[in-house]
């Protein structure tokens, strides 16, 4: 287990231009602390690319590159092949991408690199929409959330996003990936331990880390961690990992906090009515039934 005191002091992501309170920045900073300097990093078009690397600014203090939006996975494969050809040892080939770049346009490429079994680490910071371009929905946007492309309709009664969040974890498990996990920036030790495992494991590793976005979700910038915790405590996000062909659920809430505690703190859910909340509750309970039956023998 990781000891906070032993985490390096060195800041490998510093001086970036992310919004105050950015969950993606928290996750990326912590990832870099665990992965360290011996890495080649690729990040596609995303908040993280925009806030770190615009000529002549470069806030990642490791060799890095901006990957094409659709092809982070493929770029990682190429980098791994390259370091293999060059005989470079003890290096992590790392990708950091948003949910759009992972679950939508990048999923083919992600599936490709995982299927090939290349020794890489892929971190998806999940802020549940295309935040960099002004909050458009992605397949990771949860039910009921308003985005600029899934607005809530005043007259029509449209509730915003009408589909449930895509489950990337299950997709990765189906690939029989070497290691994968879900995490949250609100549980940093759990997260960093997972990053450490991802780094250490041979073969592909994938972590989807929930990274609340004050700007896009609509909450004060000081509440990023609080919101992240509530997502887990209400059962709307779960912390899990898959290793050695087994799934572990890291936190199983005995009772869920009311989902309103989480949802009503965010502008994107403010319009939801009780019947909408009931749909979300039902979805959550169904998901957990599935998790319990499948992974917890309950």
């Amino acid at each position: 287990m990781i000891n906070v005191k032993e985490i390096p002091d060195q800041e490998l992501l510093y001086g970036h231009k992310a919004c105050p309170g950015c969950g993606a920045a928290i996750s990326s900073r912590l990832v870099m602390k665990i992965i360290g300097q011996r890495t080649f990093l690729a990040y596609p078009a995303s908040c993280i690319s925009t806030v770190t690397s615009i000529y002549p600014q470069m806030n990642f203090n490791v060799p890095s590159m901006t990957a094409p939006f659709a092809a982070t996975g493929a770029v990682l494969s190429g980098m791994r092949a390259g370091v293999n050809a060059k005989g470079i040892k003890n290096i992590t080939i790392l990708g950091i991408a948003g949910d759009g770049g992972t679950a939508d346009i990048g999923i083919q490429s992600l599936s490709g690199v995982v299927e090939r079994g290349d020794d890489i680490v892929y971190i998806c910071y999940d802020n549940e929409a295309y935040m960099n371009t002004g909050v458009q929905r992605s397949s990771s946007t949860p039910y009921g959330a308003t985005t600029t492309t899934t607005p809530a309709g005043k007259k029509s009664g449209a509730i915003g996003e009408q589909k449930f969040k895509k489950n990337l974890f299950d997709i990765m498990v189906a690939h029989r990936i070497s290691y994968c996990a879900t995490a949250s920036i609100a549980y940093p030790l759990d997260f960093m331990n997972k990053v450490q495992k991802a780094k250490d494991v041979k073969g592909p590793a994938f972590i989807q880390v929930m990274a609340p976005c004050p700007t896009g979700w609509g909450f004060p910038s000081n509440q990023t961690v609080e919101i992240g915790k509530l997502a887990v405590q209400t059962g709307l996000w779960y912390l899990a990992e898959y290793e050695n062909e087994k799934v572990t659920i890291n936190i199983v809430p005995k009772i869920f906090k009311p989902i309103e505690d989480y949802l009503m703190k965010q502008r994107r859910f403010k319009h939801l009515k009780e019947k909408d909340l009931a749909v979300i509750r039902e979805w959550r309970d169904h998901e957990w039934q599935f998790i319990k039956k499948r992974y917890l023998n309950m």
Binding site: Q10, E11, Y14, P20, S53, Y55, Q57, V62, N222, E226
Partner: protein
């Protein structure tokens, strides 16, 4: 604390000084972010128990835990307030920029 330093970026003065390809050296910061801040975190060193909660959650990584007391790099702090919000001892308070700090 080990972090990149602000340095003066020397822009190419001619065609021959341009890099071949859009790359840039890492480890130099071209400007500071202090202008982003409305509220400034003030750390009460008496109350601080050095639990590192603020250090770990800071999106900017501006809290230096290496000295005798925790220090904040105000050049890069954007004043988000996560540190103040998460501090278990309420050792950090957010104060409007420009107002006197006691």
């Amino acid at each position: 604390m080990n972090k990149p330093k602000v340095g003066k970026f020397v822009y190419p003065a001619s065609e021959t000084e341009m890099p071949i390809g859009p790359y840039v050296k890492a480890g130099i910061l071209v400007d500071i972010n202090a202008g982003w801040r409305t509220f400034r975190p003030i750390l009460d060193k008496e109350k601080c128990i050095k639990c590192q909660t603020c250090w770990i959650f800071c999106p900017e990584g501006v809290i230096d835990r290496t000295g005798d007391n925790f220090e904040i790099d105000y050049d890069y702090c954007k004043g988000c307030g996560i540190c103040a919000n998460e501090c278990p001892k309420n050792a950090i308070s957010m104060r409007k920029e420009g107002e006197n700090s006691d």
